[in-house]
């Protein structure tokens, strides 16, 4: 009896809590009414037409940004065929789960207190925003939700960037859990400082930090997280020999990389030009052109570099060069002239090849898709490039070429903050995940491929065999799996040794062990 009573009391308590919350939300949506139907925002006059043009522009560019995820998914051509589904799942989760978490919490932290198309969104200070959770209350407004759509599709990139560096060896559970921290704290709060007009935006040097389309907010933050993730995971089996010489793990379809890069470039033009967030801002043409030529220059630079170095024009690497150029120009695309965009793209290509060499040979971090170099290194270079090449024709941003050093100082502070914030919190996050759930798959799973083991199906199925329903052999399968786990764990301990006789590196048991 007592139990039932206690139970019903608990139910009552739960009910009254939910009811209060519901009443509060109802009250809240009445109290600070937004404009959910758009009737008050639109008027049949010049201002109303201008407003609807803005909506059209921002929404359509938002749709092209979502399409960039197709490009990200195709970059999986750089991975081994046994791990493609795993990488694609990572990107897919960023597009779905990432956007949802951003809806519930991230957007409010990032844009609380921000004014958009004349609509001021609730409360926020220079450190964090706190208005617009789940788009409740006053955020249930056509203007705010337009901003939300644009920013939510942009936010999905963070997960896809990290996926490139942690590919082929990360546990799906750890990856999913990391989203709950990245999309609520790391990305939105840094984003608030720059895009939500926080303290970085209002720095007293130059006009404050300017990051037009996310070199810093998206790519430098994503690249830093990717680097930390790859560090904590360690290299894939067979990537490095005992003495630290990097080996080769070739991708299964470089053609996918080319497709993916061009799809990304298409979306990127919409992303950068749409970041004007106003159809009446005709600077958009300069922005789009700058973006395009910087990417093209990055690609050409890397293509020639690989030709000079190896005698072959490496198209896969050139694709990464294209992306490096696009990342580098993202921050500065609105503030520079086309000649400067070409220079930024050229230096972006150089930054890419240098940092690939540095990360692979010096830091010994295994980064399968080059996300750390493409997004991290070039994101930072993109931030700095505003302080160097901005010519003062747009937004009063003047860089070194006009003789003002202040802007460069602001941009430099943004770089340091991005590394410290994303890198520091990333370390804490991966450390906790590593000790609580573990972040790396077992050696057997890595040998056999993540696709079959984590997702139940290979990406490329050449099977002609017969299928039958699952029979009662699960107990036996478990024992066999345990045996396999042990065998592959032992194999992973093997060293790559240099065979004097053959003159190549081989993965063999050391001679002494063989005799035993």
């Amino acid at each position: 009896m007592g139990g039932i009573l206690r139970k019903s009391r608990r139910t009552n308590l739960m009910f009254s809590l939910v009811f209060t919350l519901f009443c509060f939300l109802l009250f809240a949506s009445k109290a600070w009414a937004g404009d959910p139907s758009g009737e008050q925002t639109f008027a049949l006059d010049f201002r109303g037409v201008n407003m609807s043009a803005n909506f059209t522009w921002i929404l359509l560019t938002g749709f092209t940004i979502l399409f960039m995820q197709v490009g990200f998914v195709f970059l999986g051509g750089f991975l081994q065929s046994k791990n493609v589904l795993s990488y694609m799942t990572h990107c897919f989760l960023a597009t779905s789960l990432g956007a949802l978490i951003y809806l519930v919490v991230g957007f409010a932290f990032m844009f609380g207190g921000f004014e958009f198309l004349g609509k001021h969104l609730g409360g926020g200070n220079s450190f964090i925003g706190w208005s617009g959770f789940f788009l409740f209350g006053e955020a249930y407004d056509v203007r705010t939700i337009t901003l939300f759509l644009f920013q939510a599709v942009v936010a999905t990139f963070i997960g896809s960037i990290i996926a490139g560096a942690v590919a082929e060896r990360m546990k799906l559970s750890a990856y999913v859990l990391s989203f709950f921290f990245i999309y609520t704290v790391i990305y939105p709060i840094y984003g608030h400082w720059v895009w939500g007009e926080g303290w970085l935006f209002n720095l007293p040097f130059g006009v404050g930090v300017r990051d037009f389309a996310g070199s810093g907010v998206v790519h430098a933050v994503g690249g830093s997280l990717a680097f930390v993730g790859a560090c904590f995971l360690g290299p894939r089996i067979g990537k490095y020999s005992k003495d630290g010489t990097p080996g080769f793990i070739p991708g299964h379809n470089v053609g996918y990389m080319v497709i993916g890069t061009i799809l990304l470039a298409f979306g990127w033009l919409g992303y950068d030009a749409g970041s004007t967030l106003a159809a009446g801002d005709l600077r958009a043409s300069v922005v789009a052109a700058n973006t395009f030529v910087a990417g093209a220059m990055g690609a050409v630079t890397v293509l020639f570099y690989t030709y000079l170095k190896t005698g072959a024009s490496d198209i896969g690497e050139a694709c990464n060069g294209f992306l490096a150029g696009l990342v580098a120009i993202s921050a500065s695309c609105a503030y520079v002239a086309p000649w400067a965009a070409v220079s930024i793209g050229f230096l972006g290509g150089i930054t890419y090849v240098t940092s690939v060499w540095f990360v692979e040979h010096k830091l010994k971090v295994d980064d399968p898709l080059g996300a750390v170099s493409v997004h991290g290194a070039n994101g930072l270079w993109g931030l700095l490039s505003v302080g160097i090449f901005a010519d003062g024709t747009y937004g009063d941003v003047s860089g070194l070429i006009t003789g003002n050093g202040g802007q460069l100082l602001s941009q430099f502070i943004a770089c340091v903050t991005a590394i410290a914030w994303a890198g520091g919190l990333g370390c804490v996050m991966y450390l906790v995940l590593k000790s609580v759930v573990g972040i790396r798959v077992s050696e057997r799973v890595e040998f056999e491929g993540l696709d079959v083991n984590l997702h139940g199906s290979p990406c490329y199925r050449f099977r002609t065999g017969v299928e039958s329903p699952l029979s009662e052999e699960e107990e036996r399968d478990k024992n066999e799996t345990a045996l396999l786990d042990a065998a592959f764990a032992k194999d992973a301990q093997r060293e790559r040794i240099y065979s004097e006789k053959l003159g190549i590196w081989i993965t063999a048991k050391p001679k002494t062990e063989e005799k035993k």
């Binding site: 040998f447 079959v452 997702h455 099977r463 017969v466 299928e467 065998a487 065979s499 053959l502 063999a508």
Partner: protein
Amino acid sequence: MKKIEAIIRPEKFDLVKDALEELGHAGMSVMEIKGHGNQKGISEVWRGKRYKVDMMPKIKLEVVVSDEECDKVVKTIISEAQTGSIGDGKIFVSELSNVYRIRTAEEGKSAI
């Protein structure tokens, strides 16, 4: 002369290949094949349902060696490809009547 046909796990191929090259048997033919012995396949998922895959991907390795070296090669393959679990594969050894090298028209042991 003996022909050794070894059917092994694809994940173990690199280890076996390296070990054979160490032994001095760099020449080999490799095929990606499908099949099953006692293993009877593993389970996969298709559209939310688990089912058995009867035909497993395997790698078939063919090496031709002289009679004296046969044992050593077979032992190497076993030690490299063994995990102790069902599905490790099989090795078939058969007698060859002759071997010719097309380039020089040599025959017998020197043609291996």
